[in-house]
Amino acid sequence: MPRYFLGRTIALVLTAFAASLVVFVAMAVLPGDPAAIILGTGARPDTLAALRAEMGLDQPVVWRYLDWIGGFLVGDLGTSYTYSVPVADLVAQRAAVSLPLAVLALVLSTLIAIPVGVYAASRRGRAGDLATMGVAQVGVAVPNFWLGLMLVVLFSLTLGWLPASGFPGWEAGLLAGLEALVLPAFALALPQAAILARVTRSSVIETLGEDFIRTARAKGLSGEAALWRHAVPNALIPVVTIMGLQFSFLLAGTIIIENVFTLPGLGRLVFQAIAQRDLVTVQSLVTLLAVSVIVVNFVVDLAYAALDPRLSRGGAR
């Protein structure tokens, strides 16, 4: 296990650095001088040069990367060109919307998917299985932003239960904040739940065919007890991996969903920053998102290895 852990950690650090390099290079080769964009077309050359110097744009590109990544490592994500505030502050503000949204969606999707998947597996081939998996098949196909719109039509416009869009801020109270996030969270969660339910079902079915289940049944356990005590815990191992992958989907999903519900989250920040060519913000934000995906996958890998020791003993890869 320690060797496996070390190997994975080195891979994590290298991948994260490579990701930051990719983002930096992509931003550096973009046409357009950020200083010229800020000052507009009528800027005097000396003002432009002064601003370029202030922004560090006159430095060699390698130095600019080191300067940026050095700051990044200690939590200094640079200063937004347009807002003139630290990018870290902007991100923290917006993450207070996006992160709870993504977590809520992940929790909802898990709470829905696992019972549904286990139920379908336990009724394999019967009406209950066919019905739930039929619904799941459709659920996988529904685009989350359209589902969001349909939820708005049903729960906001027709029933009037929940707000259609906007976010009052957490200052308005936990309940008001959560109310604004319920519909977007369901819009994100339901299609993911459909995928997760299908994975859970096939994993449980596979586990039910294992010898230890036959042993459990042979020693007199009821089908129900063998299912919940032996099959489900073992079947959930691959499900955890899919949940890790879903984190990446949810992060990307928030960018569109936040547009549907006009939520002031990271997705909206990305759009604003791009529209205003606020490249430092884009660069730091994208790197941060990529690093969080890498870290989540790392944690999933470790959880996987902890749950299934065969993996870590098989050698680090």
């Binding site: 719109l149 990307a252 549907v260 994208v286």
Partner: protein, 284 residues
Amino acid sequence: MSGAVQKPRGRLVPAASPSLVVGLVVTAIFVGMALVSLVWTPWEPTALNILNKLEPPSLAHPLGTDFFGRDVLSQIMAGAQVSIVVAVVAVLVGAGIGVPLGALAAARGGLVDDVVMRSTDLAFAFPALLTAVIITALAGPGAVNAIVAIGIFNIPVFARLTRGAALGLWKRDFVLAARCAGKSDLAITVEHVLPNCTAVLVVQATIQFALAIVAEAGLSYVGLGVQPPQPSWGKMLFDAQTYIYSAPWLAVFPGLAITIAVLGLNLLGDGLRDALDPKVRRAR
């Protein structure tokens, strides 16, 4: 070429599963709709008729009209063209680059394999849709940039899949025989390895096609896909949102079109997988 393509064991012509049939029919309708729209739509998709704006579904306009009085059914039919073209080309770009990369990694192994595999790891660190949004936003909206942005994320998918399938094949006897016959790695890859990967690749392509349709709709929805007046499903959804209080049906039909198209392709993919891989069929 007498490539050693392995016939599926068991029945030569597998029984068509319900998902294969339904998937084929839905996909055929979806493609057929796009083809028909090239020559005929009930109304001119982009014809404005302000007097008839925001009409609910009727006999004349089965799915109603939008804010400019354009016929929604005609727009959905024409919108299928964009979905198909963008998705097909994006998947072809992804497979066109990813399959050779994966095949190369499997054939060469060692350092080449490591570089290809670590690069795909890196690509998976970037949430696909988010990055597609950023690429199109920075490079400018439009069909070509949308294709590139979606296609890029198909490369690692096909590279990994091809490598995985090819690695297994390189250990097989018929490849060893070809080697003994003095064939080059390239010839073995083209004649023996890739033909035996076709089944998994075709199945994956249908799934990626479905994902690309959703991605294209998402990009159009945020204004980064094809530009007006060319109708697209995502853009229709965006426009519908403005009138969601007065004309909620406008938001229903384009989303339904996306869902049905994706559902059809997913069923087709599932059906093909079951039909092409007897092992999976038994496990289900």
